[in-house]
Each structure stands twice: as C-alpha cells, then as structure tokens.
C-alpha cells in the first residue's frame, strides 16, 4: 500500500491547520476574455472535489492554478499552506513534489520507458538509491495493476494503460494532493471504471486530497456513492457522506454550486438540474 505520510513534515504541519487547497476570489482572463471571475472554494484533507462544468468553463485552469502552472490575475491560491499564486518558480518546483497531476492525454514522456516515466520524479530528487527507486516504481505500478508493462514504451500502451501509468507516475513520490484532468476522457466504460476504482482506492487508502475534472456524470456518482473496501479489495456502495466527495459546478467563470452529493442530487436550481440530466 502506498503511504502519503513520508517526507512531507514541513508542508504537512503547514497544511494541517487549514484546508489543503484554498482558492480565494480568483480571477483570470486571456486576451481580455474573462475565464474565471471570482472563484472561491476549499478542499479539506482527504476530500475529493469533483469539478463539473461546460466545456471551456475553466475546470482544467483550476488544476493548473493549483499547480502553479498558471498564475491568477488577482486573488490567491493556497496549497498545503503555501501561497502558490505568489511563490517564485524555483520554490514552486519544490512544492510540486508534493502534488501529483494526471493530465488529460496522460502526457507520458515519449522517449522514456514506463519504468523511467514512473521513476522520473524520484531520480530528479537525487536522494534515493537505485534499489529504492526500483521498489517505489514497482509499488506504484502494482497499485495501478500494471507491473508487467514496466519495460514497455508509451507508444506500445493503450489509452487506458497510459492513463494508469500516468497515475502511477503521479503517485511515485507519494503526494498529498492529486489533480486529475478528465482521467476517463476518451476511454471505454470498462476501462473508465477501472480508472475510477483506482482513484477511489487512492482516496480511501491514502487519504489523498484531490481535485478531479470530469465530463462523465457516472464517474461523479461512482465517487460519491462508493468507497474502497480494504478487506475485500473492491468497491462497495456507501452513503455519500462516507465518500468524502464534494462537487463544484462552474458556470460563466463563477462557482454556481459547491456541495456534497446529497445537495447536488436534491438541488432545486434549474441550471444544476439541467446539467445533471
């Protein structure tokens, strides 16, 4: 089992007092066109926040802001107690080692094998021995049930396998925060369920805080209504309040809805109802 507690003492103590992720009145425009217009929300430790919204509503942008790949025009983004929106790039590189991101198209390095992709961050840290790196790589790959693909190149993998390697790569440094950008986009329903199962397993076994962008409502329902059964090693149905999952719906650059699964399903708002249909 992957642990999310090693080697992050300074950031944990900073982030333990408050929410792990905090967006405060974030504005961002491109070429004069406002994409985010005062977005505020928080995510607590162990919580998975599902980001919903129409295409181009700024969902992916929220992930990039959390990672410091984009900077807001105004407002603030805090991750693990650090002001991501104000940190210089050199300090962001250190903070990003505590955050894992799974990109929409996996973004595996074409020229590196699966082993080298998953080991990438561990090698960059220059602190671990080759044996430890190999163990961590195999552990991350076994978590996504893809250990047999360790010597393959990304070009030899299917879309679903690439997505699982991307999750393993993000997991290799045992991050406290995971960001998923449409992790099931373009995948068949069976592979999508496998990916969602991994995300739920990570949420419930490792207490990782996550932001997850998705267009598939069935993924959102699965997250809200299932937990990982550690005894039987499979998903089981559970009440939404036990799933540590909440939902955030973006509309026209603003937060239209922010609440748990019960509130989402029972919302009387016309836009929320239209969106959920």
């Amino acid at each position: 089992m992957l642990s999310s507690t090693s080697g992050h003492d300074s950031l944990e103590s900073a982030g333990a007092a408050g929410p792990v992720l905090r967006f405060e009145n974030v504005h961002l425009a491109f070429d004069g066109l406002a994409v985010l217009r005062g977005v505020s929300f928080i995510a607590r430790r162990g919580e998975t926040k599902v980001l919903l919204g129409e295409a181009a509503s700024g969902k992916t942008l929220l992930l990039k802001l959390a990672l410091g790949l984009q900077r807001p025009d105004s407002g603030a983004v805090w991750v693990l107690g650090q002001p991501v929106s104000d940190l210089p790039e050199s300090r962001l590189f250190a903070l990003r080692r505590h955050i894992g991101m799974v990109f929409q198209e996996s973004a595996l390095f074409d020229s590196l094998s699966v082993r080298e992709n998953v080991a990438y961050r561990l090698r960059e840290e220059h602190e671990l021995t080759e044996d430890t790196i190999e163990q961590r790589v195999r552990r991350a790959l076994s978590f996504v049930e893809l250990e047999e693909a360790i010597d393959k190149m990304p070009g030899e993998l299917s879309g679903g396998m690439k997505r699982r390697v991307a999750i393993a790569r993000a997991l290799s440094s045992e991050p406290e925060v995971m960001l998923y950008d449409s992790p099931t986009g373009g995948l068949d329903p069976i592979t999508s369920t496998t990916i969602m199962e991994l995300i739920i397993k990570l949420r419930d076994e490792n207490n990782v805080t996550s932001l997850l962008v998705t267009h598939r409502l069935q993924d959102a329902y699965l997250l809200a209504t299932h937990v990982w059964d550690t005894q039987n090693r499979r998903l089981r149905a559970a009440a939404p309040e036990r799933s540590h999952t909440s939902f955030l719906l973006l509309r026209e650059g603003k937060v239209w809805f922010d609440g748990d699964g019960h509130q989402l399903m029972n919302s009387g708002d016309d836009y929320v109802k239209t969106f959920m249909e």
């Binding site: 990003r96 080692r97 990109f103 198209e105 973004a107 840290e125 220059h126």
Partner: protein, 264 residues
C-alpha cells in the same frame, strides 16, 4: 498613413519587442542554469552526440565540396593573373574566416534547430512540458541548457572539421584538376593563415552555436495549436536561425576587425 495603420504598426513593433524580450530571457535563463544545480550531464552528453556526431557527415561533405568548388572557381580567376599557385592560400583563408564556420553552422541549423523546435514543440502540444514542470523539473534547465551547451561546444569543433575537409577538398581538386604541386598548395595554405584568421574562424562557430540552440528551443517552446503549430515552429526556427547566422557573421567580422585589426 491612416490612424488604423499607425496603430497596427505600433502593435507589430510591440509584439516583436516582446518576442525579443522573451528570447533574451530564455537565453539568459539557459546560461544561468549552467552554474546552478542540478546539472544534467547525461542530457548534455546525449545532445552532444545527437548534434555533434549526428551532424558530422553533412558537415564533412559540405566542407569538402565547398573547398573543391572554391579551388575550381578561384584557380580559373587566378590563372588569368598568373597567380594560380596562390589557390591554396585563398581557399584556406576563405574557408577559415567565413565559409567553414558559416556553412557548417547553416547545416547544423538546418538539421538541429529544426530538430529541437519539433521535439520541444511536440512536448508542448502534448502537455509533456507541463508534466515536466508538474513533476518538479525546470524545463529550461532540463531541455534548453543541455542543448545550448552541447551546440556551443560541438559547433566549434564541427567548424574546425569543415575547415579541414574544405582545405582537403581544395587540395584534391588543385592537384588532380589543375595539376598544382601538393607541397606548394599546403605551404601556401598554411603560411596564409595568421592569428587573426583563427580568432575569427573560432569565435564565429561559438556564437552561431548559441544562435542555433536558442532559436530552436525558443520556437519549440512557444509552439501552439497541435501538429500544425509544431510544423510552423520548425520552419520558423530554421529560417530565423539561418538569417541570424548570416547577419551576425557580418557583425562579428566588423567587431573583430575593429579589435584585432584589418586582415590582409
């Protein structure tokens, strides 16, 4: 000029200045990283192999045939003045001062500025650069600095190789084509070169190497819009690098002549 046209001109100038600023910033960060940890020696060595060893055949062929055609053309002109024995001298001077560094660098630009732009451009459009940043790595340190260092070093040696094979090409034509004596060709070539020729011939490829790598990486990293954007970045990189090499050749020559004196 209409107000609208004036406005557009202002916009274009501003855009070009911004691009120049971005380019200068990339170059500065690329060089600054040479002295900052972590050092990517393996990546630099790999790039030296790709850029240096990979470009060797085209640089040898370019140098060889340039030298041969120089001997062919110059010997005919020199014969009219009864100076055909000075063919070696003119071939050596032309190659070491100008043609060796410029043509080798143009070849390196055609092969490697395009390669860098397409490789980095593909990484941008497939989010691999963002992934690299997300994994805690500075892409300029990991990708740009090794390419800058590798091209700078290898272009220096490639230009020397182009010079050597150019003189060999000129010598073979001079001996076989116009019947010159080998010893006469080599002694005239050797004694014609002085310190100032070497300073020019060895300074230029270093500057041209920086141009090739910086331009290739710059256009690659600013590629947008999928595969079409990568193709556009590749073309722009080759054109810009080639033009900058030819333009900076004049500037370097002028500056060096000012500092080390007029050449014979």
């Amino acid at each position: 000029m209409t107000p609208e046209a004036e406005f557009n001109l202002g916009g274009v100038v501003k855009e070009q200045l911004l691009e120049l600023q971005e380019f200068t910033l990339l170059l500065w960060r690329g060089f600054r990283n040479i002295f900052q940890r972590p050092f990517y020696f393996d990546d630099t060595l790999r790039q030296m192999d790709v850029i240096g060893v990979g470009s060797l055949p085209i640089v040898i062929l370019t140098g060889f045939f340039t030298g041969a055609v120089m001997a062919l053309q110059l010997s005919a002109t020199l014969a009219a003045y009864g100076q055909v024995e000075r063919t070696g001298e003119l071939v050596a001077i032309s190659l070491v001062r100008e043609l060796g560094p410029v043509l080798a660098s143009l070849m390196v630009a055609g092969r490697n500025a395009s390669g860098m732009a397409s490789e980095l451009g593909s990484m941008v459009v497939t989010e691999q650069i963002d992934a690299m940043r997300a994994l805690g790595t500075d892409p300029i340190k990991k990708l740009v600095t090794p390419r800058l260092v590798a091209t700078l070093i290898m272009n220096f040696f490639l230009a020397i190789i182009a010079d050597i094979f150019g003189v060999i090409g000129g010598w073979i034509y001079a001996v076989l084509g116009i019947g010159l004596d080998s010893r006469q060709f080599w002694s005239s070539a050797f004694y014609a070169l002085d310190f100032r020729d070497l300073v020019q011939g060895l300074t230029k490829p270093v500057v041209f190497g920086i141009i090739v790598a910086a331009v290739g990486c710059y256009f690659g990293l600013r590629a947008r819009g999928g595969t079409e954007g990568v193709g556009r970045a590749t073309t722009q990189a080759v054109v810009a690098a080639s033009l900058l090499i030819i333009m900076s050749d004049f500037v370097i020559s002028r500056v060096l002549i000012t500092f080390i004196g007029q050449l014979h």
